[in-house]
C-alpha cells in the first residue's frame, strides 16, 4: 500500500514546490523569502496534527489493548517530531531576512519548540522502557497528559509574551490577500505532507511490526 502513498507524495511535492517557487507571484512586502513558508506552515500544522493523532492512537491502544494502535502511535511520533523540527528551522530561515533574527520568543514559535520537547519526551520514554507493552501504555499516559497540557502551555506562553513585550513583530497572518496560486501551492504542499506522512509512518510501522512480532510484513 505504501507505493500508493509514496508516489503521489513525490508528485505532489514536486508540483507544490514548482507552484510555490515559480508560479506564485513575488509578494510585494516580503520578496521571495516568503516562499519558505510553503514548507514552514504545512510542517507546523503537521507537527500539531500528528501529535493529536499520536495521542489518540496511543489512547486507543491502551484502552482496547490494541497493539497495532500503539505501534502506530510510536511510528507517528518520529514523523511528528521531524515536522516540528522542520517547521522550527524553516521558521528561522524565514525569520532572518524578514525580522533580522533567527529566533524570536513569541507565542507560536515557543509553543512549537515545547511541542518538540513533548515529542522528544515521548520518544525517549518509549525507548527507555524495555517491556514493549509497558512502553506503549506509559507513552499513552504521557501523550494524553501532553495533549491536555498543550492548550495550557500555549496560553501561558502567550500570556508571558504579552507581559514581556519584547519584539513587537507578529507573524504576517493569513489575512493578507492571497493570490490564487499561493493558496493552491499551500494546499498542495499540505497534501504532499500528508501523503508523505502516511507513506513514511506506514513504512516505519512495518519495521516496528516485524521487529516486535518477529514476522515479515509483506508490503
Amino acid at each position: 500500500m505504501i507505493p500508493w502513498f509514496a508516489i503521489p507524495a513525490a508528485i505532489l511535492l514536486a508540483v507544490g514546490l514548482y507552484v510555490g517557487l515559480f508560479v506564485a507571484p513575488t509578494d510585494f512586502q516580503q520578496g521571495d523569502v516568503y516562499r519558505v513558508l510553503f514548507i514552514h506552515v504545512p510542517a507546523a500544522w503537521m507537527g500539531m496534527m500528528l501529535y493529536v493523532l499520536m495521542a489518540l492512537y496511543a489512547a486507543i491502544g491502551w484502552a482496547w489493548n490494541a497493539r497495532a494502535s500503539s505501534m502506530m502511535a510510536s511510528s507517528l511520533s518520529v514523523t511528528g517530531a521531524l515536522f516540528t523540527f522542520l517547521s522550527l528551522i524553516t521558521g528561522g530561515l524565514w525569520g532572518k531576512p524578514t525580522w533580522g533574527t533567527w529566533w524570536v520568543w513569541d507565542a507560536r514559535t515557543t509553543s512549537t519548540l515545547i511541542l518538540l520537547f513533548l515529542y522528544v519526551g515521548f520518544i525517549s520514554l518509549q525507548s527507555a522502557i524495555d517491556d514493549r507493552r509497558r512502553a506503549d501504555r506509559a507513552g499513552a499516559v504521557l501523550a494524553l497528559v501532553g495533549m491536555i497540557n498543550v492548550p495550557i502551555i500555549y496560553f501561558s506562553v502567550q500570556w508571558w509574551n504579552t507581559l514581556h513585550q519584547g519584539a513587537t513583530i507578529r507573524i504576517a497572518s493569513a489575512t493578507t490577500t492571497m493570490a490564487a496560486p499561493m493558496l493552491a501551492a499551500w494546499m498542495i504542499m499540505l497534501a504532499a505532507c500528508w501523503f508523505y506522512s502516511v507513506a513514511v509512518v506506514l513504512g516505519r510501522l512495518c519495521c516496528i511490526i516485524s521487529d516486535r512480532e518477529h514476522v515479515e510484513v509483506v508490503r
Partner: protein, 186 residues
C-alpha cells in the same frame, strides 16, 4: 534538595553580571527555575523504592482507594521537601536584592506553584520506575509540562498559578495512579 536549591540559585549571579538591577529583574525567574530543578531532582525516585521493596504492590491491593494513597504520598513529599524551599526563598530573595513585598509575592507564588511541580513530577516519576537513564528521562518528560507553572510563577501571577494548581490537583493524581497501575499490573 534544599541545599541544591540554594546552591544553584546562589550560583546564578556568578554566571551573569551582578548588576543589582539585572538581578532584581531576573530574581523571580532564577528562584523559580532553581525550584523546578531541585524538585526534579527529588521527585525522580518518589515511587521507585516502593516498587523495589514490594510496598507498592501492597498499596495496590489495599482496601483504601488508590488515588488517596497516591495523593497522600505526593502530599507527604510536598510537605517534607517542597515547603522548606518556600521557607528559604526569602533568604535567596535577599541575595537578589528584592524588596519585602516582592519577597512575599515570590514566596506566595512558590507556595502555590511548588505543589504543581510535585504533582506533575509524580506523573513522570510513576512513568519511569526502574527505567534506564532514570532522572534524565523524568526531566525530559516533566519539564515541558511544567512550562505553564514556570511562566505564571516567575511572572508572579498567583491567581493563574492557583488555576493551574486546581487543574493539576484534579488530573495529576489520577494520571500518576494510572501510570503506577501500568507498572504494577505488569
Amino acid at each position: 534538595m534544599l541545599a541544591f536549591f540554594v546552591i544553584i540559585a546562589s550560583l546564578f549571579p556568578l554566571g551573569v553580571d551582578p548588576d543589582s538591577r539585572l538581578l532584581r529583574n531576573i530574581a523571580p525567574g532564577v528562584v523559580w527555575f532553581s525550584a523546578l530543578l531541585a524538585s526534579m531532582l527529588g521527585l525522580g525516585s518518589l515511587f521507585s523504592s516502593d516498587y523495589t521493596d514490594g510496598t507498592l504492590e501492597q498499596m495496590w491491593i489495599s482496601p483504601q482507594p488508590r488515588i488517596l494513597i497516591v495523593a497522600g504520598k505526593i502530599l507527604a513529599q510536598c510537605l517534607s521537601t517542597g515547603i522548606p524551599l518556600v521557607l528559604i526563598s526569602p533568604l535567596l530573595a535577599l541575595q537578589f536584592g528584592l524588596s519585602l513585598s516582592e519577597m512575599r509575592l515570590l514566596a506566595v507564588s512558590l507556595l502555590t506553584g511548588i505543589p504543581v511541580l510535585h504533582l506533575i513530577g509524580s506523573i513522570g516519576s510513576a512513568l519511569t520506575i526502574g527505567v534506564r537513564g532514570g532522572g534524565l528521562v523524568v526531566a525530559l518528560i516533566v519539564l515541558p509540562l511544567c512550562v505553564p507553572v514556570l511562566v505564571f510563577g516567575a511572572g508572579r501571577n498567583v491567581p493563574l498559578v492557583g488555576a493551574v494548581l486546581a487543574l493539576t490537583l484534579v488530573f495529576a493524581p489520577w494520571a500518576a495512579a494510572s501510570a503506577l497501575g501500568i507498572v504494577v499490573e505488569d
